[in-house]
């Protein structure tokens, strides 16, 4: 299958390793990955902060850039949710954007959804010999309803010990511009999330969204906890031969 990768602006700029991992993983599974060069950002930050117009412009750009793709894979649950849930609203009823998104929306997947639902694999042949906790980000948990898909993928990774994260369903406090507009509350939420994660004794905190990981990871790093963060794609791409976190 020819898969279009929507890398997202945060991954593209700050976490290129995640993108490389997605490409490695999908190619290893025997699929062709394309990267439509015109892509930029999904517009979630604009939309959530109340800037609807620029968000709508980016929605139109997305629809144009990815309109012909068989499948669009996004290594970010929050950007996938933005595209699927909010783009149709941005155009208004009966608009060109909403008509286009009615076609395209169902072909846009978070990486873990794509693996489990479309490619129908849970064992992707990965090897990652570490103790890991999984943080189900709000968009993955409540907006996309990823359910147990990420857990199933992680449990199939050889060498990986999946530990239970207390208070897993609770928001980490990132929330886009919330993290600066309400910096104190955001930090307090991030602190509690980090405390719960460190308390498990895991070496890695993993999630389907690098923005949440950036926030929790920033807290872990400031506290010199020694715990590291990893996008689920990096864990799933890791093998004995090509080991991600040496």
């Amino acid at each position: 299958m020819r898969i279009a990768l929507f890398i997202t602006c945060v991954n593209d700029t700050l976490f290129p390793d995640t993108g490389r991992a997605v490409v490695r993983l999908l190619e290893r599974l025997g699929h062709e990955v394309v990267f439509p060069a015109d892509q930029t950002c999904c517009g979630q930050m604009h939309y959530n902060t109340g800037y609807r117009r620029p968000a709508a412009k980016l929605a139109v750009r997305f629809a144009k850039t990815f309109g012909n793709a068989d499948a669009v894979v996004v290594p970010s649950a929050s950007c996938a949710a933005m595209v699927r849930d909010n783009y149709p609203k941005l155009g208004g009823n009966g608009s060109r954007l909403s008509r286009k998104m009615a076609q395209l929306g169902p072909r846009v997947y978070d990486l873990t959804e794509f693996l489990v639902d479309v490619l129908e694999v849970t064992d992707v042949g990965a090897y990652f010999p570490h103790k890991v906790v999984y943080h189900p980000t709000c968009h993955g948990l409540r907006f996309l309803g990823l359910g147990d898909r990420p857990y199933r993928l992680l449990r199939a990774v050889r060498g990986l010990e999946l530990l239970e994260l207390p208070g897993a369903a609770e928001c980490c406090g990132f929330g886009g511009t919330f993290s600066v507009k309400n910096g104190d509350v955001s930090a307090a939420m991030g602190f509690d999330k980090a405390r719960h994660a460190v308390g498990t004794g895991a070496e890695f905190l993993c999630a389907v969204d690098n923005s949440c990981l950036m926030h929790i990871g920033g807290t872990l790093s400031r506290q010199r906890s020694g715990m590291r963060i990893a996008h689920i794609a990096e864990i799933l791409a890791s093998t004995e031969k090509e080991y991600a976190h040496a």
Binding site: F35, R142, G218
Partner: protein, 478 residues
């Protein structure tokens, strides 16, 4: 004069102080997690039926709001037919004037009150006090807040921010000023505290000739009003006095008695985590020789018709004040209710208050941003109010208004960068050149981040650059 929310600082500022108050945070953590657990259990035991009930609650409320004009007239007729009097109040001032006049007409100088959000919203107690009438709160938590000259911080549990030692202190210090004093040897044992309140309140119940209440529901076809409560204090107020004045928001209507069935299940499970609340009182006009002999219903608009005109925001009027969204909200858990600077705190307050009173003040404008949009509130809402959707909708209104020049500049900049892949690539190259040499503490808005968290290093090469190079190499290799 009692405390008031007016003039409190905007959310981020108030939240900073609240987050730093470890005792309050402990109280809130414990209380919200306990009630969450209870709710989960009683909602869980209904299985699939819960979502069906929830949809039914949503449908009844949406239908009623769509035909509110019809049901309001029907309610007025039914109440009058049953011997009650109906008054219409466009805003808080009108409602307060009506209640004050009605109390004056009885010749009384004091009223007992059933816990009511509507009377909190219009600050009725302050208005009565200004007119020389003393209002006694009889709900235990409202009593604590009133005695402590404090403000309520939760819809269901107004004194949730206080521990029992603090409550003991308030009782010992203040009860005597308002009536029967606290026993001198009072401990902070919950039983002892409840007993002190019981003795204090009993005298008021037996003495009062006038009661003021709200209502959880008003049934249009029968003219029946309904109050759900846990203590029985409300029922004392609703049955003992000669005159009963109920102040009720116009959105509280349900069409028929049988519609109550849905909400009698949704509300207690969502609010107190019980299958059924201990006391459900209903009253329909007046019954000679039984209960209050004069009944007045004050129907309160106070911004509700304006909210109804907003196609996205109107769903907030479905709210049945259960507090499930407060109890699940990670933001509320860390700040408590006072930080919202509004009678309605938490996620529902963040959408209801700015809609009811408009967004002219900085405090109102900050409320739609007092959420990380995690969606937990929508999940638990028994009438399926999409709170995140309304929050974003209100943020649009704030962003379109004056001010936020820094933010607008930032958004315009982002607009330019994301408007073309080339521009994005150029910015990424520039950032990559700075790489790991970002300062540990950034100025301005970004400083809110670097105060407590490290920023990731910007990698030397963006994904896009890597991809293009790889592509090129593959091309050359062919």
């Amino acid at each position: 004069m009692s405390a008031t929310f007016l003039g409190l600082p905007p959310f981020p500022e108030a939240a900073r102080a609240a987050v730093g108050d470890s005792r309050t945070r402990q109280n809130l953590h414990k209380a919200t997690h306990t009630i969450r657990g209870k709710r989960d259990a009683v909602v869980g035991e209904l299985g699939e039926d819960w979502q069906r009930l929830r949809s039914q609650g949503e449908r009844v409320k949406t239908h009623t709001l769509r035909h509110l004009d019809h049901y309001l007239e029907q309610l007025e007729e039914s109440v009058q037919r049953a011997g009650g009097t109906v008054h219409w109040a466009a805003d808080a001032a009108e409602a307060n004037a009506i209640v004050t006049r009605l109390v004056h007409e009885t010749g009384e100088r004091e009223v007992v009150k059933v816990k009511s959000m509507a009377t909190q919203e219009i600050e009725l107690n302050n208005a009565l006090e200004a007119a020389g009438i003393t209002a006694y709160e009889t709900d235990l938590a409202e009593l604590i807040v009133q005695l402590g000259e404090d403000l309520p911080s939760h819809i269901l549990v107004p004194a949730i921010h206080l521990g029992r030692a603090q409550i003991r202190e308030i009782f010992l210090r203040q009860m005597a000023e308002w009536g029967v004093p606290a026993p001198p040897g009072l401990t902070d044992d919950p039983k002892a505290l409840a007993e002190a309140a019981r003795v204090h309140l009993r005298e008021l119940f037996l003495r009062a000739k006038v009661a003021v209440s709200g209502a959880n529901f008003a049934v249009a076809d029968s003219g029946t009003l309904v109050v759900l409560e846990s203590e029985g204090n409300g029922r004392m107020c609703l049955t003992l006095p000669e005159t009963l004045i109920s102040v009720v928001g116009i959105e509280k209507i349900v069409p028929t008695w049988s519609d109550l069935e849905v909400f009698m299940q949704l509300l207690p499970r969502s609010s107190t985590g019980e299958r059924m609340n201990p006391y459900t009182s209903t009253w329909t006009g007046v019954t000679p020789g039984d209960g209050p002999q004069n009944f007045h219903l004050v129907l309160l608009d106070n911004g509700r018709t304006d909210v109804l005109a907003d196609t996205v925001g109107r769903q907030a009027l479905r709210c049945i004040r259960c507090s499930a969204c407060l109890n699940i909200c990670p933001v509320y858990e860390r700040t408590g209710g006072h930080a919202y600077g509004s009678v309605y705190p938490g996620p529902i307050g963040a959408i209801l208050t700015p809609q009811l009173q408009g967004m002219s003040s900085e405090t109102d404008k900050a409320l739609p941003y007092a959420s990380s949009l995690c969606g937990a509130c929508y999940d638990v809402c028994p009438v399926a109010i999409d709170i995140p959707e309304v929050l974003v909708h209100l943020r649009e209104q704030v962003a379109q208004g004056p001010g936020h020049t820094d933010e607008k500049a930032l958004m315009a900049g982002a607009d330019a960068v994301f408007g073309s892949a080339k521009a994005l690539d150029a910015v990424q190259r520039a950032a990559g050149a700075v790489g790991g040499n970002l300062p540990r503490h950034l100025p301005g808005m970004a400083g809110k981040w670097t105060d407590t968290r490290d920023l990731p290093d910007v990698p030397g090469q963006s994904f896009r650059q890597w991809w293009n190079k790889r592509d090129q190499q593959e091309e050359e290799g062919r």
